[in-house]
């Protein structure tokens, strides 16, 4: 097992290198430069000053030299300094925002698992019932709803209309004056809508997948065997079938991680949550190369780590593939 994990981790290194190469070159070959944004609004900026900025950011060197120097720094754990006006280390900027994003994604992953699996299993077991049909309709809508639109509607209804939930940020203005329990409640209230919105899309995918898996498993011969040896229908479905249907779902969860992380740009921007997604949006708007590269790298690492965890849990859960 340990060898498998080590092997997989080592295999991630060339993938990560490939990812950084693609990001770096795509971004640097694109027209437009971060110095444009800093100078074009400023009529006093001379051509000479632009050159100085370019030299300072090492943008005047050939691209492979820039890449090599970036890579050297990365290998020493240095993500560089932000181009934005605060000139802070990129690593600091990302690290202070990463926990919020990971928290929201974990919470929504938890909700997805807790809701989608029973939904999919029940609609497979009661195939063609009204419950199954209602779930199918829900799934089709879930696939098609633009998350930002869902967020808008919920903000209008629960925020503006009913005034039940706050619609932006993570804390109320009077947060500092609240007691510990009230503080917790305050954060929870702020998280309800973002977590729900980010979970919604994933719900549809996983429950549909679970339904399909379950339907396939129910047709297998060993189900007949289980029934033939006199097990109750309950045991047959929830012990024999469910376990087998759950296995592939692990992989699907692993694959859904890039989508969740990507989605965080949208809901963090809408709900004004100070997470990595919002930072990414702001850095993109400011053409802040080092921060963009840093976040792309972290996003890719999170994705790879998610896939690795999924594969390892799969191997743990399924004795048939343990040897490989």
């Amino acid at each position: 097992m340990l060898r498998y994990i080590i092997k997989r981790t080592l295999f991630m290194i060339p993938l990560l290198l490939g990812i950084t190469v693609i990001c770096f070159f795509v971004m640097h070959l694109a027209p437009g430069s971060p110095t444009d944004l800093q100078t074009e609004m400023n009529p006093k900026a001379s051509a000479e000053m632009k050159e100085r900025l370019r030299t300072m950011y090492e943008l005047d060197k050939p691209i492979h030299v820039q890449y090599a120097s970036w890579l050297t720094k990365i290998s020493q754990g240095d993500l560089g300094t932000s181009f934005s006006t605060d000139h802070r280390p990129v690593a600091d900027k990302i690290m202070e925002r990463l926990p919020v994003t990971i928290l929201i994604n974990l919470l929504s992953l938890f909700i997805i698992i807790a809701v989608a699996i029973p939904l999919g299993v029940l609609s497979a077991v009661h195939k063609d019932s009204w419950f199954d049909k209602a779930t199918t309709v829900f799934v089709f809508i879930g696939f098609a709803v633009p998350t930002f639109w869902l967020a808008l509607l919920l903000m209008i209804y629960f925020g503006s209309h009913l005034n039940w939930l706050p619609i932006s940020g993570l804390r109320s203005l009077n947060y500092e004056y609240l007691s510990a329990t009230d503080r917790l409640m305050d954060v929870v209230k702020h998280l309800v809508l973002p977590v729900f919105v980010s979970a919604f899309g994933g719900l549809a995918g996983l429950s549909r997948y679970m339904r399909a898996n379950m339907l396939e498993v129910i047709q297998q011969d060993y189900m007949m065997t289980a029934r033939a040896k006199g097990l109750s229908e309950r045991d047959v479905i929830y012990k024999h079938a469910l376990r087998n249907a759950l296995l592939p779902a692990i992989t699907i969860l692993g694959l859904s991680i890039p989508g969740l992380i990507g989605g965080s740009v949208i809901f963090e921007t809408i709900f004004a949550i100070p997470g990595m997604g919002q930072l990414f949006y702001m850095s993109v708007m400011a053409r802040d190369y080092p921060t963009i590269m840093g976040i792309l790298l972290i996003g890719a690492i999170l994705t790879l780590a998610g896939n690795l965890i999924a594969d390892v849990s799969y191997a743990v859960a399924d004795p048939r593939i343990r040897i490989s």
């Binding site: 693609i22 089709f140 809508i141 639109w149 993109v284």
Partner: protein
């Protein structure tokens, strides 16, 4: 059961096809259907609630929302078709080459696919689009360029299972070149799965475009798109619910339509998947 019977039996697909057709008709007839000029500003009638004159209300510049949505349908369809076209083109060529030749070519292409799949796609799209001018062409290209991996895997799988078949050997025996075998003999067999992927891909591309436009880096105003009407909805969230509700419904119906159609085509062409 013949083709038309099974088509009729498939209610979901008919619904999807109907929605897609409706959307096509609306975008073709946009100049005649729209009650107002989508760009006509009326500062005396700003953010007016839905009424008999303006069914879906007016926006922050007094423009008729319904008319803007009708013209927006054109944009959505255009982005959906062209972006998916790019994705299918790249995906099919790479998948065909990879599956047909195998060996190191296959390894290189598949590793590249793995790398592309590691990105949170939306991050990548954002990163690139912000450095290019956010024009409709750039959006279509970038959505296509980040969305071909699924097609590649699909086509590759088909090619691997087909390349050793007798008809391929026969074609080789009579001296057909690789290109001819790939495109004239094997590829037609993959058309069904490509068609399904394309239909579902259009739905995804429309969703992505609307999200980009909503964030302000997609289709730029004054060109109307469903996503950028929703941006105005967010800016006026406390006073103008109609700016948020209707364009989103349009996106939802469109995407549901394409998804139903895609799944329907799959059921129709691949009887094995029928329940």
């Amino acid at each position: 059961m013949n083709f038309w019977e099974s088509l009729y039996k498939n209610k979901l697909m008919l619904t999807g096809g109907g929605l897609v057709l409706l959307l096509l008709v609306i975008s073709i007839l946009a100049p005649w259907l729209a009650p107002y000029d989508p760009g006509q500003i009326d500062l005396n009638n700003v953010l007016a609630a839905p009424s008999m004159q303006h069914w879906f209300g007016t926006d922050q510049l007094g423009r008729d929302v319904l008319s803007r949505m009708i013209w927006g349908a054109r944009i959505s369809l255009k982005v959906g078709f062209v972006a998916t076209g790019f994705a299918i083109l790249i995906g099919t060529v790479l998948g065909a080459v990879s599956g047909y030749y195998g060996g190191w070519v296959d390894s290189v292409i598949m590793r590249f696919v793995d790398i592309m799949l590691c990105f949170p796609t939306f991050f990548l799209i954002l990163a690139v689009i912000a450095f290019l001018e956010p024009s409709i062409w750039n959006i279509m290209i970038i959505i296509g360029v980040t969305g071909w991996m699924g097609v590649t895997r699909l086509v590759r799988a088909d090619f691997i299972s087909l390349r050793e078949r007798d008809f391929v050997h026969a074609a080789k025996a009579i001296g057909a070149g690789d290109l001819r075998i790939i495109f004239m003999h094997i590829l037609p067999n993959s058309m069904a799965s490509i068609l399904v992927a394309a239909t579902l891909g259009i739905a995804g591309a429309i969703l992505t475009e609307s999200a980009l436009s909503f964030l302000g880096i997609g289709v730029q105003p004054p060109t109307p798109s469903w996503g950028n009407i929703l941006t105005a909805g967010k800016d006026n969230i406390d006073i103008a619910w109609w700016l948020s509700l209707y364009p989103g419904l349009a996106i939802l119906m469109t995407v549901v339509g394409y998804n139903l159609l895609g799944e329907g085509i799959r059921d129709l062409l691949d009887p094995r998947l029928k329940k």
